[in-house]
Every structure is written in structure tokens, then in C-alpha cells.
Amino acid sequence: MTEITFTFDGHKITAREGQSLAAALTEAGHRAFRETAKSADRGMFCGMGVCQECLVSVDGMPNLRACMSPVRNGMVVAKQAPFPEFSGAHVESSASKHLSPDVLVIGGGAGGLSAAITAARAGADVVVLDERKVAGGQYYKQSADGSILDAQQQEGAELLAAARASGAEILSGVELWGAFDPLLFLAQQGDTAIVARPKTAIVATGAYERPVMVPGWTLPGVMTTGAAQTLWRSYGTLPGKRIAVCGSGPLNLQVALELARGGADIVRLAERAPHPLKRPFASLKMGAAGASQTAKGVTMELALRRRGIDMRNACELVGVTQSGSELLATFRSAAGVEDTIGVDALCMNSGFEPQNEILRLLGAEMRYDPEMGTLRCHTDDTMHTNVSGLYAVGDCKGLGGAPAARQEGIIAGAHAATATGHGDAYDLFAARRALARHRRFQSCLWALYDIAPRNAATMPDDTLVCRCEELTIGDLRGGLEGRPGHAGTLKRSTRVGMGRCQGRYCGPVAARMVAEATGKPIEDLSFFAPRVPIKPVAISCILAAEEALDGEG
């Protein structure tokens, strides 16, 4: 492996080629990547390009996401100041790429790759756009150097190889930032502006993680469980030595075990729900719905116990503080007993939020799912939305898991290909049956966990809710006094959700608070209005896209 060096605020850092900047900095013991307008430190949180907290300046260019930027030899990296000087960047015409495939797949995870394979094999002209350096998505997260850690990564590598062999064109490192009616997409790949006008589009953008919002959850070193997993699986980096994992759901179990096997000292695994054995009926139901997956879960738990890991059920994180280089995490048991432990890193996952921005922008029909506390995109059984030519598969529709995403991908891929005159979408019986089975398992699985969104009323006033604008739940409570009829009104009066991440974490909380205060049921319109850009996009990229579209004539 090639070693490279770069500097961070003058410190020399050695890293491995292919590592993300966030991984290299974490490995070197740096946690604080940027300073906020109110002088707080922030670091990597989501690890997947969503939270916009890992910003650093690289060679004088401000506000680059360390989690999405690869290290380069000799780069000069600095902690990001809140108000960077204008870089004075030169405006040059950049390259552009025009795509008009039969099927454009947005997101190259379990769902997207499966869709691409099916559509390409049917003879359709398929392009896959994926944001990460290597496609594969969250479940099949691939390593940067091509090494294979376990069966899950192996399965992903095979899926990726099949997608490449299918004839689908896979473009990685592409950030899609604009979606417009009728199926016009704008994206950026390095210096190249991409303009896509496909005949059909399959959205497969997956989900991001729901945090555990407690005082201190924004401290550097606190990150999502998936961020820690990405550090380890993609870059061979542990988030720290002493690690606690908390929240609810099977990902916490899995990642705790992966990190422990990687050499981390997992000092606490706190699950909010009671132990499954306390709910024998629900557990049996899950076992019946998916024997092999249930067995996998039991094996994981046994392996964790064998390692002597302190696993607690009905145990909740209540706060985090910083003490020197250590984080002090306080947990509360069902009996109300609190204890505090010192860790290097604290991982949290409390369920998932669908990345449905593209779907909502294009006007796809959304329905509220009270059990998951998220919107679900409504599709027919071909995975077609109510928007002509637009399909949706996988977790971006609402949580369903990777196996279900694969089956949905197969179904959507076949139908999109047929819609563009390729193949026939007849023989999908097996996929539909498998999908029904995976969905059954998922609903039994989540019944055992406790990911229902927390009641905002129980959160202490000083809990930060909007990371970007640095607003607390107390600030939002104050905003409710103006009796906003809609989350958008609360947004305008308090600035909640106006920052770089565009309300991805605070938005669901604000929507629920307003719905509760007004007594109106939650629906699509309860959430912040979807708007372009889907992710922050440099003015120079917009200029490049303008020139590209202009060139179309």
C-alpha cells in the first residue's frame, strides 16, 4: 500500500492512499475538523456526505467534506473557519458530459446495482450515478483498496462485478444536486458537469441514520454507527480505542462486533429496547419470518457476549460531555440509574431516514409511516411512482433493508427496461415472492427495536437540534410560541433547517413539533419543502452546468 503524507494545521500526517481525509485525520487522532459560527468544534458525524460537519479547507479551497474527499500526497489541510475568505477561484469553462440513457439509476447500492443489472441485461442502455468513490452502497460498502473483509463485502463485490459485466456504465464520485421535471438531472463529477435527460430514472439513494439527540451529541468524536462502520470497512480505520455504541437496532450490534474484531475496546453497547427474550412472542414471529437472518442476529449477540462486552438493554444515552481528549457518555437504565463512562468515540444509530429528496422534488407521492416515523414513497408493484418514468427502490422509499432493496431493484430494472422497449417484465414471480418475505421479516425485526422518534417533550431545553444553525430544542419551543401553522413558518422564524445539511436531522423533529402543536396529522407537506440543490453545490459547478446546458442549444 502506498503511503502518502499531508499536513493538517501544520501537523504532518501519514496516510494510506485511498483513505478518506476524515479517516486519515481520525487515525492521526484529530477529531475537530471545523469551527462553527458560535466557536464550537465539530467533526465527522455521518461519514456519508450528509451532515456537512466534517468540513475542512484543502489547498485554500474552503468547506470540503473530509468524509468524501480522498487524501492526496502533499495536500495542505486546515481546520475550517466559519467564515472563510473568498477563495478568489478562477472561473474557467469546465468539461461537461451529456447523458440520455434509457435508464438512469441514481445510487449504486443494493437496490440501484440490482436494477442496473436487470435493465442492462434486458438490453437497455443504463447509466448508474453514485456519490461514493466506489459503488456498493451502505450495506455492501466496499473497501477503498479492494480488499475483502467478510461475506457481506464479498457479496457486494460480486454484485458490483455483475453490474460492470452487465454493460451498465457506472460513474462513481458523482454528486447529483439537481432534479427537475421532466426528468432532468444535474450532477457534478470532479471538474465535469453532468447533464442527464434519461427516458426513465430509478432512484435508489438509500437512507441516512437517525441520531440520538442528547446534550453533547454534536461533540467531535460522537458519530453515527454507520460512520464508524465506513471508517473501518472502507478505510481500515478505527474511530478510536475505547468505543461505546448506543441507540436502537441491529446495525449497532453488527458494527460493535466488527469494531471489536478490528481491535477496538467496546466498553458499552446500549440498546434502547428491552431484550428480545423479554418479548418471546415477537421474537418467535421474527424467527418464523426469517430463520437464517434471525440466526445471524443470535450468533452476533453470542459473539459479543463471548467477548465480554457490556451489553445493556433498555438503556439510553442521556448526555455527552468532553473532558480533555475524552468523551464522557452518561447512560440511564430502565430503573433510572445513571452511569458515566469515558470513551474515545461514541457511536449512535436510532433507525434511518430515507434520502427521498429527489423523489419529493419531482413530486412523487409520499405517505407518512408512523411506526418508522418517516415518509414512505408510494409506488405501484412495478416500483413506478406517480411521476411518469420515475421509479423508486430500496431504503430511499422507506426502510426495507438490503435484501428487499435488491428484489425491488430487479423489479424496477425489468419494468424500466420494458418501458424503453427492452425485454419483457414477465418473469418476476420469484422476485416478488422474495420481496414479500423480506418485508415480512423487516416488520417483525423492527417490532423488537425502539426506533419510534422520541417525543420532543422529554428533551432537555439545551439539546441542540439543528446542528448547522446551532439551535436547541429550547429555541424551537420558543419559536412555537408564534403559533407556526407549518414547519416552514417555524423555519423562517427560528432559522431551523436553514443550514448546509438542509434540515436532514432537525427537519423531522421540527415537523413533529409543529404537527403536535397544531394537532394536524403528519403528511408530506408537514416537512420542510424540498428544494434544489439537494446537496450544497459550488457556484463554479453551477456555472459549468449552465455552460453545458447552453451548449445543448
Binding site: N63, P82, F86, H90, F180, G485, R531, P533, A538
Partner: protein
């Protein structure tokens, strides 16, 4: 509900100021607002005073009206300075506005415009590139000069809206959400029809922007209020560098930096209308064209990221505000600022309130009277 002395229709900046003025004068005031597509909720907080070239180009026939309104614009900006103090700070900054020229023709146009504006009492000056470099070093190489209008400025409209609303509540204005479908004169006053039942008042102030024309129909006028969906962009924060409100002599753009460090780019690019009850839709061509233009005029900002765009509903009429009682109904007073309506809104609202109270407005209100739209 109890009968109000005055019912104010529309809860944007104009209606809110009208309501505050009336309540402060001792009236019992109810404000009803439909809660959709308020320009006040979408606007960019530019305090416009000099003639906007976009407007002069789009509506040449309205230029005489705008020109005659210039002292009014200046007074409106002064009024915001007063409000800034009264409300405890709306991040108002009055460093002036620059209108950029890229060609000698454009510069000549600005010189001519500056002469006309100076004649109306505005503080204007045409600067060459050397002078510009002192105050706006971030400008791109194509800019050869600019007109500086010292009366112009900027403020934070979100903060202003919140403080104004709080001020109205404190003054005792009762605010309700609802849409008025029609107005009718009764023996004792005016009745407003709503889906939730009729509202009675002695007098009505119509500050309903794009919804105002329809409410005045049948009272001897036809006021051509037109909903104009407009596009806006905002960037992530940068170091405070842009002190002025920036426009262009020929092209549609406004650009400025808020106190938050964010740069707001707008200037009248169109959005797609989706009816009165839905916010307009962002058009890709406006996003691309508007931001690309900003990048060309100020390449220094091109490393910053745009974090959001939105579309909001502006209201245009004929280049001048509409303030005054309807010829067919003295009890109904119109309050529609027209272009640069956030700048003018407070003045317009207060003048309408004065008319309703039977007091002097301080301005020659004949010019703004709805009578000019008599049918």
C-alpha cells in the same frame, strides 16, 4: 367573533405595519392572512431606492411612475432605519447600492440615470474602476464602473418579520389564519366573507398583495395586481466582504451579503406559477442563469457553495403603489406597495392606516390613489 374596528386583510410587511399603526392609535384590529405565498416571507431584504434597470427594461411605460416615486422610495428606506431602531435591530446596513456597468454604453446609461435620480434628491455618484476597487475589490475584471446610490441598503427580512409580528401581537392585533373571498358593504360597515363565516368591521384595509385586485373588484376599480413568481439563491457563509447591495445596469441580478456571511443572489429571475395556494416552482434555467451571472460578475465568490434556492410570489401593478380608499367604498382602503414592496411596505401600510384613521399621510397620496384604475 367580536366586531373589529378595522379588519386588515394580508399579514405581510404592509398589513402588519398597517395593523400596528391602527392598534397603536387605539383601534380594535383584526388581521386575517391566508398564510400562503407572502412576498414578505420570500424576499431578499434589499432596500431599493435607485431605479432598477430590470424594471426599466421590462416595463418601459412604467418608468415615469417609478421616477416620480423616487423620493417616496428614499423616505421608505428612512422609515426602515427608524424601524430598525424601534424593533431593536433588523441587521439593517446602509452602505449604499452599486449598479455595475461592463460596457461604455452601460456606463453612459447609468450616468444619465444618475442625473435623473439626483434631480429627485437621491444621493448618487458614478464611480470608475479605480474608485470601485477601493470599496469592492472582489469585483470581476469585466466591470468598468458603477453607479453608487448611498440611500440603498439591506436588512434581514426573516428577523424583521418575526419582530414585526411580535410587535403587532404586543399592540393587541388579533391575528387569524383564513382567506377572504369577497367584501360587501353593509349598513354599519364592511362584511368580509370567509369559509369560516363572515367578519364584520367598520373599515377594511386590503394589504393582500397579489390577492388585492380581486377583492377591490365591484367597487368601481379594476386594479391589475399580478402575481409574479421569482427565484432566489443563497450560499454558505463567507468572510464579510461585500458591503453593498449589488445590481447590474442591464442584466437581472441582485447580490448582497447578509450579516450571517451568506450571499443572497436574486434579481427577478422567473419561477413557475402553480396557482395561488402553492408556492411557485424553481426553474433550472433561472437557477443556472442567475448564479452563473453572479459568478461572472464576482468570480471571487465562485468557490462558495449554493446551499438553497427558493421561489416566492412578488406582486406587480403599474410601477407605483396603490394607497387609498376605493372610489365606490370609502371604508375600504387599499395598501399595495408594488415593486420593491418590502422596501415600501412599512410606508404603504402606515399611510393606509392614516387614511383609515382620517389623518394626514405626509405624502401626496393622490398619486397613489386607486382612482387611477377606475372603470
Amino acid at each position: 367573533m367580536a366586531r373589529a374596528d378595522v379588519l386588515v386583510i394580508g399579514g405581510g410587511v404592509t398589513g402588519t405595519l398597517a395593523a400596528i399603526t391602527l392598534a397603536d392609535a387605539g383601534a380594535s384590529v383584526t388581521l386575517i392572512d391566508a398564510g400562503v405565498n407572502a412576498g414578505s416571507d420570500a424576499n431578499a431584504g434589499s432596500l431599493h431606492v435607485q431605479m432598477q434597470s430590470r424594471f426599466m427594461r421590462l416595463y418601459p411605460d412604467q418608468v415615469p411612475n417609478v421616477e416620480a416615486s423616487l423620493p417616496f422610495y428614499r423616505a421608505a428606506a428612512e422609515e426602515w432605519v427608524r424601524l430598525d431602531a424601534v424593533l431593536g435591530g433588523v441587521e439593517l446596513v446602509r452602505n449604499g447600492g452599486l449598479m455595475l456597468a461592463e460596457t461604455p454604453d452601460q456606463l453612459a446609461f447609468l450616468e444619465h440615470k444618475a442625473d435623473r435620480e439626483a434631480a429627485q434628491g437621491l444621493s448618487v455618484e458614478v464611480l470608475d474602476r479605480t474608485a470601485l476597487d477601493q470599496i469592492a475589490p472582489w469585483l470581476g475584471p469585466n466591470i468598468i464602473g458603477a453607479e453608487l446610490c448611498r440611500d440603498e441598503g439591506k436588512l434581514n427580512p426573516l428577523l424583521a418579520n418575526r419582530l414585526l409580528r411580535g410587535r403587532a401581537e404586543a399592540a393587541g392585533v388579533a391575528r387569524i389564519t383564513g382567506k377572504v373571498d369577497g367584501l360587501a358593504l353593509t349598513a354599519r360597515g364592511v362584511e368580509a366573507t370567509t369559509a369560516e363565516g363572515p367578519l364584520q368591521a367598520d373599515q377594511v384595509i386590503v394589504a393582500a398583495a397579489w390577492g388585492a385586485g380581486r377583492l377591490a373588484d365591484g367597487f368601481g376599480v379594476s386594479i391589475p395586481t399580478r402575481a409574479e413568481p421569482l427565484h432566489m439563491n443563497i450560499t454558505e457563509p463567507g468572510a464579510p466582504s461585500i458591503n453593498h447591495l449589488v445590481q447590474h445596469a442591464e442584466r437581472s441580478i441582485t447580490l448582497k451579503q447578509f450579516g450571517s456571511g451568506q450571499i443572497v443572489i436574486g434579481g427577478g429571475w422567473p419561477a413557475t406559477y402553480r396557482g395561488q395556494t402553492q408556492p411557485p416552482l424553481v426553474r433550472p434555467a433561472s437557477l443556472l442563469g442567475n448564479v452563473a451571472l453572479a459568478a461572472k460578475l464576482a468570480p471571487a465568490i465562485s468557490g462558495l457553495k449554493v446551499i438553497r434556492t427558493w421561489a416566492g410570489m412578488n406582486t406587480t401593478i403599474d410601477g407605483a403603489s396603490v394607497i387609498g380608499a376605493l372610489p365606490g367604498a370609502e371604508r375600504i382602503v387599499m395598501a399595495i406597495p408594488g415593486d420593491a414592496g418590502y422596501t415600501l411596505g412599512p410606508m404603504v401600510g402606515q399611510m393606509a392606516a392614516s387614511i383609515a384613521l382620517g389623518a394626514q399621510t405626509g405624502f401626496d397620496s393622490e398619486r397613489f390613489s386607486p382612482v387611477r384604475f377606475a372603470v
